[in-house]
C-alpha cells in the first residue's frame, strides 16, 4: 500500500500544474459571441473587425438594460484586432463562447482561406461556431441584430443558425465543416447567407419574380429580401457557394431545401405547389424525409453521372374545397405533380452547382471516391475539377399520407 500511496502522491504533484499563475476568473473576461470581418474602406491591406460581447450582469437586471456591447477595430489581422480591442476593453476578450463568425460578401468573394486557416490554428475558438456571409457589411449585420424573443444574444444566434433543424431554408454551416471542406478533395464549402432586412413587401415581391422554379415557392428569396413587417431586422436565409476558398455565388432559400435533400440532411419544410386541378390555387404540404437519399456515382466517358433518389413523405396542409382529395385518382395526380415539381427544381439546382458554379457543395465526391481504390488514383482524377462535367439522373418518390382531419367530411 505504501508504494501505491507514493504513486498517488506523485499524481497529486501534477495537479500543481493547474496552479494560480495562469488562472483567470470569469469576471475578468469579456465573452465574445459574434465576430464580424469586413474590408477596410480606407486601406486595402486592413480589415475591420467587429466584436459583440455579452454583459452578463445585465441579464439579472429587471430593466431593459443593454445585454451586449459592440465594438469595431481596424487592423491588419484578426489577432491584431483582438490585441487592439484588449487595450480599451477593461476585460480580456475570450473567444471560447463565440457563436458566429460573419464575413462580408466582399471578403468572401476575395477568399476566406487565410482567415479560416488562422482561426483553425487558434485553440480558443470552438469548432462548432457558425460561419455566415453577410450581404451587407458584417459590422452592419451585427449592429442590426436585435433579438426580440430572446434576451440572451448568444442564445439568439445559436437558435437562429440552428434553424436548419426545422426550416431547411438555411444550411448547417459550422466552422469545422467549412474548414474541412476548404481542405477537402471531395467537396466544396458553403456558408449561411445573412443580411439586414431592408426590403419592403412590394419590392420583395418584385424580387421574387421571375423564377427558375416550378411552383409558387418563394424561390428567389434570400436573406434581406423577405417580404415581412416586424420581427428581427436581420435574417439568415439561403447560402453562399465557395470554390477554391472564395465565394462563387449564392443560392436561395428554396435551393437550400434541394441542397439538404441532396446532402441527406433534409428534415422537413412547408412546401407549396400549384394545384394541378385549379392552377391559380396552391396546395401546401408538410414535406419530411421518408428515407435516406440514395446517391450513386458512375463514370461515363470519364464524366461523372450522378444518380440521386430522394424519398419524401408529405401531408397536405391546405387544400381547395372544390376538389375531392379523398379520391384515390386525384391524390395520385397530386402526388405525381409534386414529384415532378421537386424533380425539376432539384435537377435545376444540381446543374446550377455543376455547370454554373462548378462546385461540389453536396459532397458527391465522397460517394465518387468509392469508385477508386487508392488515394493516388483519386487525386489523379481531380474530382473537384471533374465535377463541372457531371450529369444527373434524379428520382423523387413522395408518399402522400392520407391521414389527417383535412380528409374528413
Amino acid at each position: 500500500m505504501k508504494n501505491l500511496y507514493l504513486v498517488i502522491i506523485s499524481i497529486l504533484c501534477l495537479t500543481m500544474l493547474t496552479g494560480c499563475t495562469e488562472s483567470k476568473e470569469l469576471h475578468e473576461h469579456a465573452y465574445v459571441i459574434a465576430i464580424g470581418i469586413d474590408k477596410s474602406e480606407n486601406q486595402e491591406d486592413r480589415i475591420r473587425v467587429t466584436f459583440e460581447f455579452v454583459i452578463p450582469i445585465a441579464f439579472n437586471a429587471e430593466s431593459n438594460s443593454q445585454v451586449s456591447s459592440i465594438t469595431t477595430v481596424e487592423s491588419t489581422s484578426l489577432h491584431s484586432a483582438i490585441s487592439l480591442a484588449n487595450t480599451y476593453i477593461s476585460k480580456e476578450l475570450n473567444l471560447s463562447h463565440n457563436k458566429v463568425l460573419v464575413f462580408s460578401e466582399e471578403i468572401a468573394y476575395e477568399g476566406l482561406e487565410k482567415y479560416v486557416s488562422t482561426i483553425s490554428n487558434d485553440k480558443n475558438y470552438r469548432t462548432n461556431m457558425y460561419i455566415a456571409i453577410s450581404k451587407c457589411s458584417a459590422e452592419e449585420y451585427i449592429k442590426n441584430t436585435k433579438p426580440e424573443l430572446e434576451k440572451n444574444p448568444a442564445k439568439f444566434y445559436e437558435l437562429l443558425f440552428r434553424g436548419y433543424d426545422y426550416t431547411s431554408l438555411l444550411p448547417n454551416s459550422y466552422f469545422l465543416g467549412f474548414f474541412l471542406s476548404t481542405r477537402s478533395t471531395h467537396a466544396n464549402p458553403i456558408a449561411i447567407l445573412t443580411n439586414v432586412d431592408t426590403q419592403t413587401q412590394e419590392t420583395a415581391k418584385a424580387i421574387a419574380e421571375p423564377s427558375e422554379s416550378l411552383g409558387p415557392y418563394d424561390s428567389n428569396i434570400t436573406a434581406g429580401n423577405i417580404p415581412k413587417e416586424g420581427g428581427a431586422s436581420t435574417a439568415a436565409l439561403g447560402m453562399v457557394v465557395f470554390k477554391n476558398g472564395h465565394a462563387v455565388g449564392e443560392l436561395t432559400g428554396e435551393d437550400t431545401i434541394y441542397f439538404q435533400m441532396s446532402k441527406n440532411s433534409f428534415e422537413e419544410v412547408y412546401y407549396s405547389i400549384y394545384d394541378p386541378f385549379i392552377p391559380q390555387n396552391t396546395i401546401a404540404f408538410n414535406l419530411s424525409k421518408k428515407g435516406n437519399t440514395k446517391i450513386k456515382v458512375d463514370f461515363v466517358n470519364n464524366k461523372p453521372l450522378i444518380f440521386i433518389e430522394v424519398n419524401l413523405q408529405g401531408n397536405i396542409i391546405s387544400i381547395n374545397n372544390d376538389v375531392d382529395y379523398q379520391n384515390e385518382k386525384n391524390l395520385e395526380i397530386i402526388q405525381k405533380h409534386l414529384e415532378y415539381v421537386i424533380h425539376r427544381n432539384l435537377e435545376t439546382f444540381l446543374y446550377k452547382t455543376s455547370k454554373k458554379f462548378g462546385s461540389d457543395i453536396c459532397a458527391f465526391g465522397k460517394i465518387a471516391a468509392k469508385n477508386y481504390l487508392t488515394i493516388t488514383e483519386w487525386k489523379q482524377n481531380n474530382w473537384l475539377e471533374m465535377y463541372k462535367f457531371s450529369y444527373f439522373k434524379v428520382k423523387v418518390n413522395v408518399e402522400i399520407e392520407k391521414s389527417g382531419l383535412i380528409f374528413l367530411e
Binding site: 508504494n3 501505491l4 507514493l6 504513486v7 498517488i8 502522491i9 506523485s10 499524481i11 504533484c13 501534477l14 500543481m16 500544474l17 499563475t21 495562469e22 485553440k123 470552438r126 469548432t127 462548432n128 445559436e158 469545422l176 474548414f179 474541412l180 481542405r183 477537402s184 478533395t185 471531395h186 459532397a363 465522397k366 460517394i367 471516391a369 468509392k370 477508386y372 481504390l373 487508392t374 488515394i375 493516388t376 488514383e377 483519386w378
Partner: protein
C-alpha cells in the same frame, strides 16, 4: 522475485495497455493517417495480426526458458558480454523514448493548456513525478495502472462517443488509402505501437505459467487493437483525409466536437485529464525500465541519488529538440534505427540462438535451467 498474488493479471494487462494509450492520446492517429491515408483501420488490423504472430512465435521459442529473464538467456547464448550489451541497448532505448515522450507531452500540455508557461517548467513537474513515482517499485507501478488505465480508457471512449454526430462513413473512401503495398511496407515500423512488448520479458518473473502470460499478451493486443481502431476510425470519419494528415491533436479535436444540444459542450477537460494520468503512469514505467536496465548493465544496487541523476539527465536531454516537429523527427529516426531492432528483433535473435544452442548441447541447457530455478 515478486509473488504473483501481489500483481493481478488485470493490473498486468492494464500496465501493458498503458504503453498503447500513451501513443494514442498523442500523435498515433496522425502517424497512422500519414502511413495509410483513409485506410487507417487496415493498418491497425495489419499491425495487430503481426503482433499476434510475433507473440505466438516468441512464446514457442521462449517456452524452454520460461521464468528466466531475457538477459540471463542472453548470457547463456553469448556470455556475460552479450548479456551486458543487450541490457545496455535496452537501457538506451528506454532513455531515448522517455526523453522524447517527456518533451512531447510537455509541449502538448503547453500548447493545449499552459500558453504562457515554459515547456521546461512543465517537464520539470513530470521529471519530479517520475523520480518520486519510480521509487514505488514495479509492483506499485503495475498496481497503479490497474486503477489509472480503466479510467483513461473510459475517458478516451467518452471523447470518441461524443464525437459520433460528426462521423461520416463515406470519408473512409478510397477504401485502400495509400495502397496495400505502402501500408504493408511503411506501416511495419509502426509495430512500435505495441511497445508493451518491451516489458513482456520482464513479466516472466511475475507470471508463473507461460500460457498465462500468453493469454495476457493476447488480451493486451486485443484491447489495444480495439482502442486504436476506434480512435483512428473516429479521426478519419470526423475530420476526413487529407486534414487527418496534419491534425496533431486528433483526440483533443474530437473532444472539442462535443455538442449534446447545448446541454454538454465541453469535454476537452476529459481529454486533458486522460492525457495527464496516462502520461504520468507511462513516464514512470519508462523511467523505472531505464533504471532497471541501467542497474542490470552496471550490476549495481538501486540508489536514490542515481535515480535523481538519471532523471536530471533525461530532463536535460528532453530540452535538446527545438520544437515539437523536431521531436517527431527524432522519434522517427530512433524508431527505425533503434527501437524496432532492439525491442522487436533482439529478443528473437537471443531466444532463437538460445534454442539452437539448446538443441546442440542438451546437457549444458539442463545445467543452465537447474542453476536458474
Amino acid at each position: 522475485m515478486l509473488n504473483q498474488k501481489f500483481v493481478s493479471p488485470f493490473a498486468i494487462v492494464c500496465f501493458l495497455i498503458s504503453f498503447t494509450l500513451s501513443q494514442l492520446i498523442l500523435s498515433l492517429p496522425i502517424i497512422y493517417s500519414r502511413v495509410a491515408g483513409t485506410a487507417t483501420y487496415i493498418l491497425s488490423i495489419y499491425l495487430a495480426l503481426t503482433m499476434v504472430l510475433l507473440i505466438i512465435i516468441i512464446s514457442k521459442l521462449y517456452k524452454p526458458f520460461y521464468g528466466i529473464d531475457l538477459f540471463t538467456v542472453a548470457k547463456y547464448v553469448g556470455g556475460n558480454f552479450f548479456s551486458k550489451i543487450s541490457s545496455a541497448l535496452y537501457c538506451i532505448v528506454f532513455i531515448l523514448l522517455t526523453t522524447l515522450f517527456l518533451r512531447e507531452v510537455s509541449e502538448t500540455m503547453k500548447i493545449l493548456l499552459f500558453d504562457t508557461t515554459s515547456t521546461t517548467i512543465i517537464s520539470l513537474f513530470f521529471t519530479a513525478a517520475m523520480i518520486i513515482g519510480c521509487s514505488a517499485g514495479f509492483e506499485g507501478i503495475v498496481r497503479a495502472c490497474g486503477y489509472i488505465v480503466p479510467i483513461a480508457i473510459l475517458g478516451i471512449l467518452i471523447t470518441i462517443i461524443f464525437s459520433t454526430n460528426y462521423w461520416d462513413v463515406n470519408r473512409l473512401y478510397p477504401l485502400l488509402g495509400h495502397g496495400i503495398d505502402n501500408i504493408l511496407l511503411y506501416g511495419f515500423p509502426r509495430i512500435s505501437t505495441y511497445l508493451g512488448f518491451i516489458y513482456l520479458f520482464d513479466l516472466v518473473n511475475y507470471v508463473e505459467k507461460s500460457e498465462e502470460l500468453n493469454k495476457m499478451a493476447f488480451i493486451y493486443i486485443g484491447i489495444s487493437f480495439f482502442l486504436i481502431t476506434i480512435c483512428v476510425l473516429a479521426n478519419t470519419m470526423a475530420f476526413a483525409y487529407p486534414y487527418t494528415d496534419s491534425n496533431f491533436f486528433a483526440l483533443y479535436d474530437l473532444a472539442k466536437l462535443t455538442n449534446l444540444n447545448s446541454f454538454f459542450l465541453r469535454s476537452e477537460i476529459i481529454y486533458i485529464f486522460t492525457l495527464m494520468i496516462v502520461a504520468f503512469i507511462f513516464i514512470i514505467s519508462m523511467f523505472y525500465g531505464t533504471l532497471n536496465f541501467l542497474y542490470k548493465t552496471l550490476n549495481i544496487k538501486s540508489n536514490v541519488w542515481i535515480n535523481i541523476a538519471v532523471g536530471i539527465i533525461i530532463f536535460i536531454l528532453s530540452n535538446i529538440p527545438n520544437n515539437l516537429m523536431e521531436v517527431f523527427d527524432y522519434y522517427n529516426i530512433i524508431n527505425s534505427s533503434l527501437v524496432l531492432p532492439v525491442t522487436f528483433a533482439l529478443p528473437f535473435v537471443i531466444v532463437g540462438l538460445a534454442n539452437i544452442k539448446r538443441l546442440k548441447n542438451r546437457g549444458n541447457y539442463e545445467k543452465f535451467i537447474s542453476s536458474n530455478n
